[in-house]
């Protein structure tokens, strides 16, 4: 099946360019040039991969990533930026992006990067690779945590609420499912992470900057 890709960039010309380059190879299921619209549309279209610009008014790519991952942890983000500044890379990876490439990239390489991110790889432009490894050594970026991958998307979602101190009832209301289902997911989370209660989970999550 073709990969469903969503594009976010505040430069509409660039958006159109990328769209025409990608069409045929992947399914471009939507585009947005504003942060708030992007968050809404991604929730609606449920793409596999989101190509996202870093610098945008009203919160930038980071905000989109955080907002979307809270509700849809299974969406993969690939940052696409003109900048190769370390701070930008760190910020966007910490927000939860799975990769970072500069806009100098060619369409073939971009397609390759999209496929690799879709398969779960972390992708970085060659000249960023060395720097990224350094950053990993000092502080591991949140979402590439192998322990998190043990959890199904739904379990991650429930886990984030529990760690924030929501009661099961509140989580059930948020996700529009039954309390018993929340209990099931919570039990799975505890078992998989080898934690014994929600307090340990809260500490676990804050230590890893997941919440």
């Amino acid at each position: 099946m073709t990969i469903r890709v969503f594009l976010v960039d505040d430069h509409e010309l660039f958006l159109a360019g990328v769209r025409s380059e990608l069409t045929g190879a992947v399914e471009v299921c939507g585009t947005a040039s504003e942060v708030d619209i992007a968050i809404e549309l991604i929730a609606e279209r449920t793409p596999d991969v989101v190509l996202i610009d870093v610098h945008m008014p009203n919160g930038g790519g980071q905000r989109v990533i955080r907002e979307v991952l809270r509700e849809q942890p299974e969406v993969r983000f690939l940052a696409l930026s003109v900048s190769d500044a370390p701070d930008d890379v760190i910020a966007i990876i910490r927000a939860g992006a799975r990769g970072y490439v500069t806009k100098t990239i060619g369409s073939n390489e971009l397609l390759d990067a999209i496929e690799r991110v879709h398969d779960g790889d972390a992708v970085f432009s060659p000249r960023l690779a060395g720097f990224v490894l350094d950053a990993f050594a000092s502080g591991p970026p949140a979402n590439l945590d192998p322990e998190l991958d043990q959890l199904s998307p739904r379990e991650q979602q429930v886990m984030r609420f529990i760690a924030r101190g929501y009661t099961y009832k509140e989580v059930a209301r948020e996700l529009v499912i039954s309390v018993k289902t929340v209990e099931s997911h919570a039990s799975s989370v505890f078992r998989k992470l080898q934690l014994s209660n929600r307090h340990e989970l809260a500490r676990w999550a804050t230590d890893r900057r997941i919440i």
Copy 2:
């Protein structure tokens, strides 16, 4: 009644000097020249005020303050240091010290500082005062938090355990009291801080770097 004072400094000569200067005016109930020994002896002797050096091997004065306050929140700490570096002052105050004076101080002024700390005042060497006020403006040092003073020492003690995720039963075992007493203290804490459950308390405490 005379104030019971404990001295901690890794320079034994200095320790002896201060001891002889203070004896008569206050009761020196013990001294220590190592961090671990200090923690043990303070727990045993329960002094009113601890005079403590900032720079020491194995954790420094900060570690002593944190460890002791966890179990004995009513003990007052007065830092006594050769340094007047802003970083040192910030660190030790954040750890929970009630005052900071340099070793250039005379015995009369030191006695006065001890009495004022014992009475609950915050004491700083004159040339540090301006700097301290600046620090307050940017980030209020943890333990001079007015909200914390609403809580009795016992309540603070219980609060710290609760905020760390201990169950009431575990707190009861730690403090060797009944579960019902822990519940009473917890209820008082919630009422005084206007919080409704332990999760809010945990967030409240971490926001203020109390735990």
